[in-house]
C-alpha cells in the first residue's frame, strides 16, 4: 500500500482581504505611500495571531501564527501534512469516484483546499473602545483582494511547514499585488489584482502570476515575454495567458461542457504503436447543445466549435466559441455563402471550417484530401506528425458526416492504425460514462470510415504567438 500511495499534495488557500486606503486629491507621492501603507496593514494582519486557516469539508481549523494550533487534537505542528486527508469528508459522488481512479494510475498531486479566516475574539483584554474622527477631503478607495495561494508539499512534510509556507505565500502575493496595483494604476483608478496559477511543462510545481483585471492578455504581452525568458520557455505557443491557468482537479467548469473526454479512455493495444494525441484541453460540442436543435445538419458546426474551444482554452484567442449563427455570418462575410444562408439548416464541410477558422480566429488550416476512405489507413505518418507539431483537433468531413479526430495510435513498423474519434452526432446529456461506454468518444479502426467515400480533413495550424 505504501508504495502506491500518492505522496504529492497541493495546499491551496483562498480568501478575500479587504483593501482600503484614502487617497489625497492632489499629492501624487502621497498616493503611492497611501497604497503601500494599506498593503502594509494587510501584511501585518497576515502576520497576526488572528489568522486562521480552515481545511474545507473538515472540522480542522489551524492558527498558523500560533504554532499551528488546531481544533483537532491529533494534529500539531509536527504532524505529517498527509494526515489532514483522513479528516476531509468527500461526501459527493463524483469526488469519491475520481479519487478512486486516482489511486490506480493517476500520480497528479492531491489538492487540499483551505479558506482564510480572521479571528476577532481574543483572550487578553485589549484597549477600551474608542472612536476617532479625521476630517479631510479625500477619496476612499476600496477593493476585495482575492487571495489564492498554493504550495506543493510531500506527504511527509509537516503541517508546520505547510502553514508557514502558506503564510509566506500570502505575504509574497500581497507584495506582488502591491506592485501590480502601483504599476497599472491610473491616478485614482486602481485595477483589481488577480492571481493565476500556471503549471510549467514537465513540472508538478505551480507558479503564480498576478494580472491586473480589465487589462487584456494582448496588452500584457511584454509581461509574458519576460516570463517566457525567465522560465526558458519556447516562444511559439502561449503558456502564461489567463486561459492557460491551471485547472484544479475537482473544480467545476461553469459553462457545463465536458472537457477532454478522451482522457477517460484506455489506449488501444497495438504492437509497436505510439500514441499521438491532441495537446491540451478542449470542450466537447455535439448535437442539441445550447438549446439548438441541429440534429441531422449541425455536425460540422459542432466539430468546428470543438476546435474553437481548443484555441480558446490554449490561450490563442480570447474569442468565445462561435454559435451556429455566428459561423453562418462569418461564411457570408467572407463571401463563401449568400445572405440567405443565415438561419438556414444547411450543413457545412471542411473547406467552410477552414474559412471560418481563418475569419474568426485568424487561424490557417491545411486541407488533406483522400479520394477513398480506405486510404485513411495509410495516412498515419501525416496525422502523427500533425499531432506532434500542431496538436490541434482535426475536423474530417466525408459524405454527409463530420467527425473530429483527436489522435492516432500508429505503428511505424507495421503501419497499423487506430483513430481517436470524437463524434458530434451525440444527442444525449453531458454524461462521461455514456459517452465513453457507447463510443461517442472512442478508438476506431480503419473500417470506421466509409471505404468508398471521399474525405476532406481540415488540419488547423497553430499561430506562433505567446
Amino acid at each position: 500500500m505504501v508504495l502506491t500511495e500518492n505522496n504529492n499534495f497541493i495546499f491551496r488557500l483562498k480568501g478575500v482581504l479587504e483593501f482600503s486606503c484614502q487617497l489625497d486629491s492632489s499629492n501624487e507621492a502621497h498616493g503611492q505611500n497611501a497604497i503601500s501603507k494599506a498593503f502594509r496593514v494587510l501584511r501585518s494582519r497576515i502576520s497576526s495571531e488572528s489568522l486562521v486557516f480552515m481545511v474545507c469539508n473538515s472540522p480542522i481549523l489551524l492558527w498558523p501564527n500560533k504554532s499551528c494550533h488546531s481544533t483537532v487534537e491529533s494534529l500539531s505542528e509536527r504532524t505529517p501534512c498527509r494526515d489532514v486527508q483522513q479528516h476531509i469528508d468527500l461526501e459527493d459522488g463524483p469526488n469519491r469516484k475520481s479519487s478512486k481512479r486516482r489511486d490506480k494510475k493517476d500520480a497528479s498531486p492531491i489538492t487540499v483546499n483551505l479558506k482564510l479566516l480572521m479571528e476577532v475574539t481574543e483572550s487578553g483584554s485589549g484597549g477600551a473602545l474608542s472612536l476617532c474622527r479625521v476630517t479631510k477631503k479625500q477619496q476612499c478607495v476600496m477593493m476585495p483582494l482575492c487571495m489564492d495561494c498554493v504550495i506543493n508539499a510531500g506527504g511527509h512534510d509537516t503541517l508546520g511547514f505547510v502553514c508557514s509556507g502558506l503564510v509566506a505565500a500570502l505575504h509574497a502575493q500581497l507584495s506582488d499585488m502591491e506592485q501590480t496595483v502601483l504599476k497599472y494604476r491610473k491616478d485614482k483608478s486602481l485595477p483589481l489584482p488577480e492571481p493565476f496559477h500556471f503549471q510549467l511543462p514537465a513540472s508538478d510545481r505551480l507558479f503564480t502570476v498576478i494580472y491586473p483585471a480589465a487589462v487584456t492578455d494582448d496588452q500584457l504581452l511584454s509581461v509574458r515575454e519576460e516570463l517566457h525568458r525567465k522560465h526558458d520557455l519556447p516562444r511559439d505557443r502561449p503558456y502564461f495567458r489567463r486561459a492557460n491557468a491551471f485547472h484544479f482537479p475537482g473544480e467545476p467548469y461553469k459553462d457545463g461542457y465536458l472537457r477532454s473526454p478522451h482522457t477517460h479512455l484506455n489506449a488501444p493495444s497495438i504492437e509497436d504503436a505510439k500514441l499521438y494525441v491532441v495537446r491540451g484541453v478542449y470542450s466537447y460540442h455535439h448535437y442539441m447543445q445550447d438549446r439548438v436543435d441541429d440534429n441531422g445538419w449541425g455536425c460540422a458546426y459542432r466539430s468546428l466549435q470543438t476546435i474553437c474551444s481548443w484555441f480558446q482554452q490554449q490561450g490563442y484567442t480570447e474569442r468565445t466559441v462561435p454559435t451556429h449563427k455566428q459561423i453562418q455570418q462569418a461564411l457570408v462575410d467572407v463571401g463563401d455563402k449568400e445572405p440567405s444562408f443565415l438561419g438556414s439548416r444547411q450543413w457545412i464541410g471542411s473547406i467552410e471550417v477552414q474559412a471560418v477558422l481563418n475569419q474568426l480566429l485568424g487561424v490557417n488550416s491545411k486541407i488533406l484530401f483522400v479520394s477513398r476512405g480506405s486510404e485513411l489507413a495509410s495516412k498515419g505518418r501525416e496525422l502523427a506528425n500533425h499531432f506532434q507539431t500542431e496538436g490541434t483537433p482535426i475536423m474530417i468531413g466525408g459524405g454527409v458526416l463530420a467527425h473530429t479526430i483527436l489522435g492516432v495510435a500508429w505503428s511505424e513498423t507495421s503501419g497499423q492504425i487506430r483513430f481517436l474519434i470524437l463524434d458530434p452526432h451525440y444527442t444525449g446529456g453531458e454524461d462521461i460514462q455514456t459517452i465513453t461506454d457507447k463510443g461517442w468518444c472512442g478508438w476506431k479502426g480503419p473500417e470506421f470510415w466509409d471505404q468508398n467515400a471521399y474525405y476532406n480533413l481540415c488540419l488547423p495550424q497553430t499561430p506562433k504567438i505567446i
Partner: protein
C-alpha cells in the same frame, strides 16, 4: 393553544405589590428569553415616572389609559434593551388598570407592544431570522380584582389580534443558565461619505454587523454545527450543578461573491473617516431546555453587535445633549461596559459608564431603569480596560491637520454633572426626539 410562558416567581410578587396601589394605571416591561418551545420571563419592571418641569412626581398618577405616555414607555424599553446581555430581551408588557377602563386595555396594550417593538428595532443592526419569535406577551391586571389576562400579539403582523397564552410561575428558572462569553477586537475604518456623519458611522457598523452575523462561531473551541447540543453530559446533573461558563470565538469568513464582477477598486469621495477601535467584552445567557450551540452562537453574536452599536449611539446622543453640533475631530472614549448581578436569577445585567461617571451613578441607573437595588460594590467594572489605544499615535500616516487636534475624551467635552440631571436631560432629549417624530408624521399626514 397559545404560547407558553414560564415565569420567575419573584415576578408574581413584584406584580402583586404594584397592583396594590389601586385606582391608578401602571405600565411596565417583561424581560426574559424566547425559545422555540416556550418563553422564559425572568424580570418585570415598571415604567419609571417621567420627570417634567414644574410637576412633582406624586401629582402625576395615571388615572386613565389616555394618560399613558406611549413614547415614554417605548423609550424606557429602548434604554432597558441596552442594559441586557445577549439572549435577554424585552418580551412584552404589563398594564395594571382600574376595572372601569378594562375594555380598552387590550387596545392600549397592542399599541404599546407595537411602539415598544419599533423603538427597540431602530437600535438593532441585525435582522430577525426565521427562527425568531415575534409574539410578544401582554398581561392586563385589574387593579381592583387583581385578575390577570394574558394575551400575545405578533409584532410581524400589524393587523394581528390578541391570542391566548399560557402563563405559569416557577422558581429559580434562570439560576443555572450557562454564560457564554468572549472579548471582541474591533478595528474599523469607516469613510464618511455622506453629509451626515452619524449615518456614515451607522452604515459602516451595519457592514461590520453583517460580517459578525456570518462569522464562524466556536463554542469551547469546537465549531458550531446545526444540531450540536450546548450542554453535554447527563441533563439532570447539569441542572443541579452550578452555572457553566462557555467560551466563544468568532472567525470572520473572508469570502466575497461580488469580487468576480469587479475589475477596479471602488472610489468614493469622502469628507474624512471615522475609526472605531478597541476591545469589547460580550456576554450571553441561554436557557437549559436542550439548547443547541447555534442558539448560543446567535445570542453572543447579537450581543457583540448590540454592545458596540449601543455605545456609539450613546456617544452620539451625548453629543446631541451637550449641544455639540457635530462629532468632534480626534479621539473620544466610548463608554465602558459594566455588569451587575440580577438578584435571584444567576444572570447579570449591564450598563455603560462614561469616563466622567462614577459607579454610584451607574448603580442609580440600575435602580431607576431595572428596579435593581445595588450597592456601588455590586457594579463590576473590571471586564473592560480603562485605557484605550492612542489611535493617532499609532497611525504614522495620519495627516498633519488631524494630528494637531488634541486628543479629547468626553470628560472634557461634556462637563461633569450629577447623574440625576444627566438622566433627566437624557429623557428630555428623548422626548424632544419623540415630539419631532410626531411632528414629522403629522406633516406626512397633512400632505
Amino acid at each position: 393553544m397559545g404560547r407558553g410562558y414560564i415565569v420567575e416567581e419573584c415576578v408574581e410578587k413584584y406584580l402583586t405589590n404594584l397592583s396594590a396601589a389601586a385606582g391608578s394605571c401602571e405600565t411596565g416591561l417583561f424581560i426574559g428569553q424566547c425559545s422555540a418551545q416556550r418563553d422564559f420571563v425572568v424580570l418585570a419592571v415598571r415604567t419609571p415616572h417621567r420627570e417634567t418641569e414644574g410637576a412633582a412626581e406624586s401629582q402625576r398618577t395615571l388615572s386613565s389609559l389616555d394618560n399613558i405616555d406611549v413614547e415614554w414607555v417605548a423609550e424606557h424599553a429602548r434604554q432597558v434593551s441596552r442594559m441586557l446581555p445577549g439572549g435577554l430581551s424585552v418580551l412584552g408588557l404589563f398594564l395594571i388598570a382600574p376595572p372601569e377602563v378594562s375594555k380598552e386595555a387590550q387596545n392600549t396594550l397592542k399599541k404599546l407592544v407595537f411602539s415598544v417593538d419599533k423603538s427597540i428595532s431602530k437600535s438593532k443592526l441585525w435582522d430577525l431570522s426565521e427562527d425568531d419569535v415575534t409574539e410578544r406577551i401582554t398581561l392586563h391586571i385589574c387593579s381592583k380584582t387583581r385578575k390577570a389576562v394574558c394575551k400575545t400579539f405578533d409584532v410581524k403582523d400589524p393587523k394581528c389580534s390578541a391570542k391566548p397564552a399560557d402563563w405559569r410561575y416557577q422558581s429559580g428558572i434562570s439560576s443555572s443558565w450557562p454564560l457564554i462569553t468572549c472579548s471582541v477586537q474591533l478595528d474599523l475604518q469607516i469613510p464618511v461619505t455622506s453629509e451626515n456623519v452619524d449615518e456614515s458611522i451607522k452604515d459602516g457598523l451595519r457592514m461590520w454587523a453583517k460580517q459578525i452575523e456570518a462569522a464562524l462561531c466556536l463554542i469551547n473551541g469546537k465549531a458550531v454545527t446545526d444540531d450540536s447540543e450546548l450542554l453535554l453530559g447527563p441533563k439532570k446533573s447539569t441542572k443541579a450543578s452550578q452555572q457553566q461558563t462557555v467560551q466563544a470565538q468568532l472567525l470572520i469568513l473572508t469570502e466575497d461573491a461580488d469580487a468576480g464582477q469587479m475589475s477596479s477598486a471602488v472610489v468614493q469621495e469622502c469628507s474624512g473617516s471615522v475609526c472605531v477601535r478597541g476591545a469589547v467584552h460580550c456576554r450571553a445567557y441561554i436557557h437549559t431546555n436542550k439548547p443547541k450551540t447555534r442558539h448560543a452562537a446567535q445570542a453572543i453574536k447579537r450581543d457583540v453587535v448590540n454592545t458596540v452599536f449601543s455605545r456609539v449611539e450613546m456617544l452620539l446622543e451625548d453629543l446631541l445633549m451637550s449641544e455639540a453640533a457635530d462629532l468632534a475631530c480626534g479621539q473620544q472614549d466610548l463608554p465602558r461596559r459594566v455588569f451587575a448581578p440580577l438578584s435571584g436569577s444567576g444572570l447579570s445585567v449591564c450598563d455603560y459608564i462614561f469616563p466622567d461617571e462614577s459607579t454610584a451613578d451607574v448603580a442609580e441607573r440600575f435602580k431607576e431603569m431595572l428596579g435593581c437595588d445595588l450597592s456601588e460594590g455590586d457594579v463590576d467594572t473590571s471586564m473592560e480596560a480603562q485605557t484605550c489605544f492612542s489611535v493617532l499615535g499609532v497611525e504614522d500616516g495620519c495627516d498633519e491637520e488631524a494630528t494637531q487636534v488634541p486628543t479629547q475624551s468626553s470628560a472634557e467635552t461634556v462637563p461633569k454633572k450629577n447623574a440625576a440631571i444627566q438622566y433627566a436631560a437624557g429623557m428630555a432629549v428623548a422626548a424632544a426626539v419623540a415630539l419631532l417624530a410626531t411632528a414629522t408624521s403629522l406633516l406626512y399626514l397633512t400632505e
